[in-house]
């Protein structure tokens, strides 16, 4: 409650929380998945679980880019950095994700030229100002980020930059949601849909979830009130025996998404036949690769990356946590060997990862209460 009280609309929040209690049937259990890691972070930071009745379980979804990236892909990217005359660039989140031989940050300390950038365009600029080197951008992210990579590749082509490539790990959220719905050990009653991803994709891609699986999806904003309102909308659908896609985040998400961004994606990328996700395994048509027209910018083709598959570190149960089968503290390594200072698994790296969020907020909160 402490975090919620900091909000100016604390009164409205407790009103919505009361409505949730009224709307929830005490005789049943509700399992609601928040798909996006940003929502996971917000839920823990604001202590939202504390204002929900005990029979509403929030299951943390796969929407955290570094969390779902399998160790094999990290190793593949770092193999590119090990080449001579290569500068590998990546976002800050990526710098602390462990590969088999260490994190990008650790490899940098051992002499690899790995640089953090805030935009793929910064990577392109590094390429333009280092013509004697090859600059590879380690691209990660969902549909929010992929259009930026697409425009950067188009820009590189326009400028005739030939010493620039992209190691593409962009993934798409809908096939992961479908995989979760198809999985026998995951019973989800409804989804809090991603906010910023949906500002690109729009709401239509979720319609099959309501239509074919009979589960409500409510695209949600990130403030405590947004998330609680979205949960309430899901409960109301469930109690009415209905399932539809609703847009709680209309102020940012147009129903049809962002057409120029979708066009940029379609121009540069194609769906890969399959892609490995940490915890979820191989999911068909769930990731983007560069179209053959852009092969000259495709680091996987240029460097013939090894394509290694690596199992999770021994004892780490990232996969089970990612699927929502285990809660973060139920993992054997949680808080001991695996902590934010020394993450063993990627879920402990990003603030959007369930383990890092739980470690930072939930453990602290229970310590304060105790």
């Amino acid at each position: 409650m402490k975090y919620v009280d900091e909000f100016r609309d604390a009164g409205i929040i407790s009103g919505v929380a009361r409505e949730i209690v009224r709307a929830a049937d005490p005789s049943r259990l509700y399992r609601i998945m928040e798909v996006c890691g940003g929502h996971t972070h917000a839920i823990y930071r604001h202590g939202l679980r504390d204002v929900l009745p005990a029979n509403i379980e929030l299951v943390h979804g796969p929407g955290c880019p570094v969390c779902v990236l399998p160790t094999g892909r990290v190793d593949d990217g770092l193999a590119i950095a090990a080449r001579e005359n290569v500068i590998l660039t990546c976002f800050g989140d990526m710098m602390r994700v462990p590969g088999t031989k260490g994190t990008p940050l650790e490899l940098k300390a051992r002499g690899a030229d790995i640089r953090m950038v805030y935009s793929p365009l910064d990577a392109l600029r590094i390429a333009a100002s280092n013509p004697e080197k090859h600059v590879c951008f380690f691209a990660i992210g969902f549909e929010t980020t992929a259009p930026s990579t697409a425009l950067t590749i188009l820009r590189a082509q326009e400028l005739g930059v030939t010493n620039f490539s992209v190691f593409c790990n962009h993934v798409t959220i809908v096939p992961a949601m479908r995989a979760i719905l198809d999985s026998p050990d995951m019973r989800i009653d409804g989804f809090v849909g991603p906010g910023h991803v949906s500002s690109i994709t729009g709401c239509r891609p979720y319609e099959f979830i309501a239509r074919d699986y009979g589960k409500p999806v409510v695209v949600s904003g990130f403030e405590p009130l947004d998330i609680l309102e979205s949960i309430l909308l899901i409960l109301r659908q469930l109690d009415a025996g209905e399932a539809s896609v609703e847009n709680q985040y209309k102020r940012i998400v147009p129903w049809e998404g962002n057409p120029p961004a979708l066009m940029a994606l379609a121009r540069v990328f194609e769906l890969r036949p399959y892609f490995e996700w940490r915890g979820l395994g191989f999911i068909s048509q769930s990731a983007l690769g560069l179209k053959p027209d852009f092969a000259g910018f495709d680091a996987e083709k240029l460097f013939n990356v090894p394509g290694v598959r690596v199992t999770d570190p021994r004892g780490a149960q990232c996969g089970e946590v990612l699927k929502g089968v285990l809660k973060p503290p139920q993992c054997k390594l949680f808080g001991t060997e695996c902590n934010p200072e020394h993450p063993v698994g990627a879920l402990m790296v990003s603030s959007e990862g369930a383990c890092a969020a739980y470690y930072r907020y939930a453990m602290h909160a229970s310590a304060v209460e105790a």
């Binding site: 910064d122 992210g141 929010t144 403030e223 940012i252 961004a261």
Partner: protein, 92 residues
Amino acid sequence: MCLAIPGQIVEIAQKEPLARVNVGGVTRNVNIGLLDDGAVAPGDWILIHVGFALSKIDEGQAHDQLRMLRAMGEDGLAIEEVRGYSFAEPSR
């Protein structure tokens, strides 16, 4: 990762799809190629992600978004990110 940062457009570039944007007193160029042509003008507010404008928003939404970032403890990160955009700044 999916940080969406509100900023106000100061100036639109003539040739490239770039806009000079003010984010909490820090001004940088961001790419506006993911918005429809002519969608934004000086004074407009946008949401920025990894150097690109993702959407045009109104001033109230910009304040909401800033409040959200502050509440999440991510306002510092947002400014750090914008400060880090160097792709269209003069060489140091």
